[in-house]
């Protein structure tokens, strides 16, 4: 490539980059120019042309040329906002920001009340680290506009950025006094206190910023959400402050919202009840719908359940009430109020037209509840009745499995077998696998689980395949134990399932016990039984160290302990043991990574 060609390409590249870079700036400039045109009346046209010329020079990299033009505009009209902003940009790029100061001072001489002028002067002194000058400029600004919050906010921000919180607070307090409103600058004071770590004062200020009727809540919430912990440390105090009497409905609503977001269910419920007691009619209706919806989103079923129960008591069109009852029924299940859930489903079933999908769904839920609450025999009757009414219902598989699992749990293997023979689908196939295990038919169980896995997806399919694979290492007796545990799990009793696996292994070989304990530890993890999981894994690594389950137990245990400050050394020891004692394990790379993390050799995130 010749030097000339290279130069041409380079210039073109620079132009392209400059055009991209300054596109946004030009847009802003043009907007500002509208104002200029109006302000300058007759001179507007020529000023716009000059500023456009300056922008073009700047885009081409001719900073000196652009600066000359901009300065000419300011000479003619020192208060031109567009020109002063352009000059600031040009000087900053050239590292000559200091030269902006005389231009700003001329601007302020011409217009002492120019907020932009004062603001730019303060910022410029701050960027140049000329703090005494900055303070003098701020003082002048405050004198010119004593009842305006902006100067105090601006100066406080500078001190805050320099972590001089005391000075920031001093400025803001002075601003509050001069502005003459007790809640003036409360948001900013809260910001400073938060950064300083004085949470008590931060709560006081933000509580003040929310105001007596809760109108400032949105701004405070936005700040809370921007904190690294989402405001977790502040929210309890803020709620307490907001509900302190005399608390208006607005403040109580804000407190309720915070409690919902923070997942403080009992507190949220108590606050919501206080709000609901003080409002009526459409306002109350809207509040309850909102609380129900948000509580469901935040996984606070009790609060949602309460809100929908209240809604059900209010007058509303039948169609709306049915929707509410439908939500209520599933929430009743979540909070364990099966009587209410069953009642709701019965009402729903009757309310919907015969043969309708809604009626079918409600009936299916009612039967599932019956299987859980009323025993296998009655559930079986209900199931048969359902099948007569809806012979092709998609719920048959799920329902058949639920009733079958219940019968298995009651030891009624023959009834379960008869029922399961008459239904098809992945859920009933799983139940057939459990039945086969209970009868000692490992091959049949394996086949049923693998059939089910084909129609399942995600983690459920993976777990089912793992279950089928596990059978390859078990005898019929061990399979029977696994079948019982699996049935307990299918009936929603994870704790009992773990107990069956841990306690029912007498007479089995050590290898089989190791397999079942490993499975028990996984179930305990999924059920949130952390202590139980840890206890089981300690047994595996101590009593069954030579079996293939030991590496996974070592890794899982190490991970659990690594999170506790006083157990890090033990976690490290376990990881080293995994690497050194089980070098062929596929988990060794993961163990090394954990070890690196514990030793701070790789970033923790």
């Amino acid at each position: 490539m010749t030097e000339e060609a290279s130069g041409r390409r380079r210039r073109a590249r620079i132009r392209r980059a400059a055009v991209r870079g300054w596109g946004m700036a030009l847009l802003a400039l043009c907007t500002a120019l509208d104002g200029v045109a109006q302000d300058a009346q007759g001179r507007g046209g020529s000023e716009i042309r000059l500023l456009q010329e300056a922008a073009a020079l700047e885009a081409a990299g001719d900073y000196a040329g652009a600066e000359r033009v901009v300065r000419a505009v300011l000479e003619d009209r020192p208060t031109s906002l567009s020109a002063i902003l352009s000059l600031e940009r040009l000087l900053r790029v050239q590292g000559r920001l200091e030269e902006l100061i005389p231009a700003l001072q001329r601007m302020l001489t011409a217009d002492q009340t120019s907020t932009v002028g004062h603001q730019m002067l303060v910022r410029t002194y701050s960027a140049l680290n000329r703090l005494e000058d900055m303070e003098r400029a701020a003082e002048r600004w405050m004198r010119a506009m004593p009842r305006l919050e902006t100067p105090y906010r601006e100066v406080a921000r500078v001190w805050q950025a320099r972590r001089q919180y005391g000075r920031a607070i001093q400025v803001l307090e002075r601003g509050r006094e001069r502005v003459g409103r007790p809640d003036a600058l409360a948001l900013e004071l809260g910001d400073v206190y938060v950064e300083e770590g004085d949470l008590e004062r931060a709560v006081d200020e933000w509580s003040r910023a929310i105001g007596p009727e809760g109108r400032g809540y949105t701004l405070v919430k936005r700040r809370l959400m921007a904190l690294p912990d989402g405001g977790a440390q502040l929210i309890p105090g803020l709620i307490e402050s907001l509900e302190r009497p005399p608390a208006s409905v607005g403040r109580l609503r804000a407190a309720t919202d915070l409690a919902v977001d923070a997942g403080l269910e009992p507190k949220a419920e108590s606050l919501a009840k206080q709000v609901a007691a003080q409002i009526v009619g459409a306002e109350r209706h809207i509040f309850l719908v909102e609380i129900g919806r948000r509580a469901e989103g935040a996984r606070l079923p009790r609060l949602a359940y309460w809100a929908y129960s209240e809604l059900l008591e209010m007058e509303a069109p039948e169609e709306q009430l049915l929707t509410v009852r439908s939500r209520l029924a599933s929430l009743a299940l979540a909070v364990g109020d099966t009587a209410r859930a069953r009642e709701s489903y019965q009402i729903l079933e009757k309310a919907f037209a015969a043969g309708s999908p809604e009626r079918r769904e409600a009936a299916a839920f009612r039967i599932e509840l019956a299987a859980r609450e009323e025993g296998g025999e009655r559930a079986l009757e209900a199931f048969e009745s359902f099948r007569r009414e809806f012979p092709d219902a998609p719920e048959l598989d799920r329902l058949g499995a639920a009733v079958g699992n219940r019968l298995l749990a009651e030891g009624k293997l023959d009834e379960a077998e008869r029922l399961l023979r008459s239904v098809t689908g992945p859920r009933s196939s799983m139940a057939r696998g459990r039945l086969a295990l209970r009868k000692g038919d490992l091959q049949g169980a394996r086949s049923a689980f693998l059939t089910a896995a084909q129609a399942l997806s995600g983690a459920e399919a993976t777990e089912t395949i793992a279950l089928a694979t596990m059978l390859g290492r078990l005898s019929s007796a061990a399979g029977e134990v696994l079948g019982r545990a699996s049935t307990e799990l299918a009936n929603g009793r994870a704790h009992e399932a773990v107990a069956v696996l841990v306690g029912g292994t007498q007479g089995l070989s050590a290898g089989e016990r190791s397999v079942l304990l490993d499975h028990a530890a996984s179930l305990a993890d999924r059920a949130g039984l952390a202590e139980e999981a840890e206890r089981i894994r300690r047994t595996i690594i101590t009593d069954y160290a030579q079996f293939p389950e030991a590496p996974a137990a070592l890794l899982a245990l190490a991970r659990a302990l690594a999170g506790r400050e006083d157990r890090v050394a033990e976690a490290r020891e376990l990881l080293e043991r995994l690497i050194l004692d089980h070098p062929r394990s596929a988990l060794v790379p993961q163990a090394r990574r954990e070890l690196d993390r514990l030793q701070g050799r790789v970033p923790s995130s």
């Binding site: 380079r10 590249r13 620079i14 980059a17 400059a18 990299g61 900073y63 900053r92 790029v93 050239q94 590292g95 000559r96 920001l97 200091e98 910022r123 701050s126 960027a127 140049l128 680290n129 950025a161 320099r162 972590r163 080293e576 690497i579 050194l580 070098p583 062929r584 394990s585 596929a586 060794v588 790379p589 090394r592 990574r593 070890l595 690196d596 030793q599 701070g600 050799r601 790789v602 970033p603 995130s605």
Partner: protein, 418 residues
């Protein structure tokens, strides 16, 4: 597959009934974790044992004594090792004798200092990242320690992205007013006041002078990124103002380039100083000029091969399992060939361009090595990027260059002086 092989190997070692005399740490593609292999070798030296660096033998392998504790460390770190009997080692030595290879005895774990501000996390700097990952300990030193003459306590000194012109890497162009920048300014100015210097550029010149003295008296210096270029500029700018007003309150001398004293530098000469405060570059030493409109694109650089028997030092510095490496940006990415002093050894260059990537030289009783760029595994590094996780790059050839430098001072002095 690789994992399986290593697992089998480690298992074979763990269950081996008898020990061999040596453990060979291969550094070719058979190695599973090249970076930690350096850490293992360093650890062996720390235990008071000796090691050998087999230059050009299987990409610069190490030979360690076969001890249970060495095997244990290798297994924990995931470093592949191969037992070698006396007979096998004799064969290796014969191969080395007949080829462009050499065996270098490593006898002492060098004491390492990294020049970095207090409280900076290791993830800011490629060398500290590599040292931490490999498990090689180091001390942090900064201006105070340097000015108090404490560099003499160390065999090896690393500099990374410090700006020795005292202009805070010209970050004020884009980050003026940013709290972290203000903090940096305040920290530097406080040290300048403490030691009686009028401003940060003068402070940094004094620090640069101490570093020059350290090398002249026999220290090993390894610098990357901006530290390479700005250290040299600071050394040459005796009595010349090359700093923007932001840094010292006065504009740079427009004739600075003609007043630079290049006889005081180690690597570069005849450079034009960038005195325009609006241009984010320090001089024309860097071929890439990453933050300017005339930025050059990244390519690949090639490591040169040296005679291991006659040039063991450059050979050590380029040991690698790959000899063509992807380039990576830094505030200083590369070094223009026409700015190098005569006698500078080019270790790597980008073919077909006018710049080099990796250079080395002797200065007084010591040596210096400069590598351009910021982070070999983060080619476009930007402020605020997440830190590089070296577990994702255990075989990084770029990071190997850094670690070659760490072990190089461990070699027997006799060898280094040849």
């Amino acid at each position: 597959m690789r994992f399986l092989l290593v697992s089998l190997l480690v298992t074979a070692l763990a269950t081996a009934p008898a020990q061999s005399q040596y453990l060979l740490v291969p550094m070719d593609d058979a190695q599973t974790n090249h970076l930690k292999a350096y850490g293992l070798t360093y650890w062996t030296l720390q235990q008071g044992l000796t090691a050998e660096w087999l230059l050009n033998y299987r990409s610069g392998s190490f030979l360690l004594p076969d001890r249970p504790e060495v095997r244990r460390e290798a297994a924990l770190r995931g470093v592949a090792v191969e037992p070698a009997s006396a007979g096998q080692v004799a064969e290796i030595r014969a191969t080395i004798e007949e080829s462009n290879m050499e065996s270098i005895i490593l006898e002492k774990a060098p004491k390492i200092a990294v020049y970095t501000p207090p409280n900076s996390p290791p993830w800011d700097d490629a060398v500290t990242l590599a040292l931490v990952y490999a498990g090689i300990p180091y001390d942090k030193v900064w201006d105070e320690e340097v000015l108090q003459g404490r560099l003499r306590e160390y065999e090896w000194l690393h500099l990374h992205h410090e700006d020795f012109t005292g202009q805070y890497s010209k970050f004020y162009i884009n980050y003026a007013g940013a709290p972290w920048l203000q903090e940096e300014v305040e920290r530097n100015e406080a040290v300048a006041r403490q030691f009686g210097y009028p401003n940060t550029p003068e402070l940094k010149k004094a620090v640069a002078e101490e570093i020059r003295r350290y090398v002249a008296q026999g220290g090993f210096l390894f610098a990357m990124c901006t530290a390479t270029e700005t250290l040299e500029l600071a050394l040459a700018a005796v009595g010349v103002d090359i700093a923007a007003p932001f840094a010292d309150g006065t504009p740079a001398d427009p004739d600075a380039s003609s007043k630079m004293q290049w006889d005081r530098t180690m690597a570069f000469e005849g450079a034009d100083v960038q005195v325009n405060p609006g241009v984010n570059a320090f001089s024309d030493i860097d071929g890439h000029q990453v933050n300017t409109p005339w930025r050059q694109p990244l390519g690949a650089f090639t490591l040169f091969e040296f005679s291991a028997k006659f040039d063991p030092v450059p050979s050590m510095l380029v040991q690698n399992h790959q000899n063509v490496l992807s380039d990576f940006y830094g505030l200083t990415t590369s070094f223009r060939k026409d700015r190098l002093k005569p006698g500078v050894i080019v270790l790597a260059e980008e073919e077909g361009t006018g710049w080099t990537k990796y250079i080395h030289g002797k200065y007084g009783e010591g040596t210096w090595t400069f590598l351009g760029g910021h982070d070999p595994e983060d080619p476009q590094h930007q402020i605020g990027d997440p830190p590089t996780d070296l577990d994702m790059y255990p075989n990084s050839p770029g990071y190997r260059l850094i670690l070659n430098n760490v072990l190089f001072p461990a070699a027997k002095k006799k060898t280094l002086k040849t």
